[in-house]
């Protein structure tokens, strides 16, 4: 599955409890939309580490990397370029 779709499907299932998939745009802020809280941030970290096999450093846990589908995609691209090119 495409990485963006993987992210959207994970967010929809874990935080939106929705059968309609991810209903926001790829740039919408997870924080501003009230999608994730502090527990949600930890869940996303775990999703990234388990799915893409890299370690998230504390200093990387900031909105520029985590706050939207596009931010997450760019972050994964930087941390695991092979995962992105293979998708």
């Amino acid at each position: 599955m495409d990485i963006r779709e993987q992210i959207k499907s994970y967010i929809a299932e874990t935080f939106l409890f929705s059968d309609d998939g991810f209903e926001f745009s790829d740039d919408d802020s997870f924080l501003d939309e009230g999608i994730v809280d502090s527990m949600g941030v930890l869940e996303i970290i775990m999703f990234l580490e388990e799915t893409f096999g890299f370690s998230v450093e504390d200093e990387e846990i900031k909105p520029e990397n985590f706050d939207s589908v596009n931010n997450l995609y760019s972050y994964i691209q930087r941390k695991a370029p092979t995962a992105v090119s293979a998708s």
Binding site: L31, V36, D37, M39, L42, M46, D58, K62
Partner: protein
């Protein structure tokens, strides 16, 4: 729309008038609205419960007040000493209920320690432990994620980011502390036909720094409208002992003694209160920044953090929802 005025003294109170207003509120709600015969206050030795007790002492005769100290085996002994000092200052004889037994009964310590041990296998009861959020909120916008710190008997400190499963278990187990205390407060309230006078102030309520049905359980909320720095202003006026007023607010929930700033708020209260006021009153970040000698981006970081906390903790402030409410 006109922007409200903003200056660093905006939260200065007239403590005498504010005290009169709250005392009248306590009397009216307890006796006339709730038709209870007095008030129960859980005294922690911290600033908020001290102010509530001092206000109750002005609103009611000592015989109509139950001041409960509810230590458990991990509470700081200093807290109980300060609680006693406070009660004596206001001529109220404190009642002591040791919560260790009920907490053992619930398995609170064991359930929490199981989760800590999954993260730090060497952890045992000789270690101290706390959980914290990143601080330096003004410097950089970081997301809120909790870390666990253990301190060995030799003083060796280890910190790790908490995985969600362990964080949930630690928080769920630790919340037994606030919820068993709430049960004890209501035991004494029922015993005397009294109301529970709660101790959360504005920041705790608005940002969700309380345990639902724990320290969030109460009948009257005397200081729920006050910012933390205003609670300190009242404390001074009411004669709360200096030892309590000069102590940094702690959670007194974790053995390593985390302050409320590192556990939740991420900023000193003097800074946070003014920015929280700005946010609540729709004052542009640039205006707040100018009034506080900060950069606009710093205030924006804090606005974003406060909004996130407010939004994600909304469920804590909602009453039970039934079909009749929809």
């Amino acid at each position: 729309m006109t922007t409200k005025a903003f200056h660093p003294d905006i939260l200065k109170l007239d403590p005498e008038k504010e005290t009169e207003r709250i005392v009248e509120h306590i009397r009216h709600t307890t006796f006339k609205v709730l038709r209870r015969k007095g008030g129960v206050v859980g005294v922690s030795g911290g600033i908020d419960s001290s102010v509530v007790l001092a206000l109750a002492a002005r609103a009611m005769k000592p015989a109509r007040i139950v001041a409960l100290l509810m230590p458990e085996m991990e509470s700081s002994p200093e807290s109980a000493l300060m609680g006693r000092e406070l009660c004596h200052k206001f001529n109220i004889e404190p009642l002591v209920e040791d919560m260790t037994g009920p907490l053992w009964g619930f398995g609170a310590y064991q359930r929490r320690d199981e989760a800590i041990k999954r993260l730090f296998p060497e952890y045992d009861s000789t270690y101290k432990f706390k959980i914290t959020l990143p601080t330096d909120l003004l410097q950089e916008r970081k997301l809120n994620f909790f870390s666990a710190t253990i301190i060995s008997p030799e003083g060796e400190v280890q910190t790790k980011r908490l995985p969600p499963k362990e964080l949930r278990q630690i928080v769920a187990a630790t919340n037994f502390k606030q919820r068993t205390r709430a049960s004890m407060l209501y035991y004494h309230a029922d015993l005397h036909d009294f109301a529970v006078l709660g101790t959360p102030q504005r920041n705790e309520h608005g940002q969700g720094f309380f345990v639902k049905n724990g320290d969030g359980a109460m009948d009257v909320r005397p200081i729920g409208h006050l910012y933390k720095t205003q609670v300190y202003q009242l404390a001074e006026y009411l004669g709360v002992p200096e030892s309590i007023r000069s102590r940094p607010p702690t959670t007194d929930t974790y053995t390593a003694g985390s302050t409320q700033e590192e556990f939740f708020f991420r900023l000193p209260f003097e800074t946070m209160d003014l920015i929280w006021y700005g946010l609540e009153n729709d004052i542009p970040a640039a205006v707040v920044a100018e009034g506080m000698d900060l950069e606009e981006a710093q205030v924006e970081h804090v606005y974003a953090d406060l909004l996130q906390k407010k939004r994600t903790t909304e469920y804590l402030r909602l009453p039970p929802l039934g079909l009749a409410d929809s």
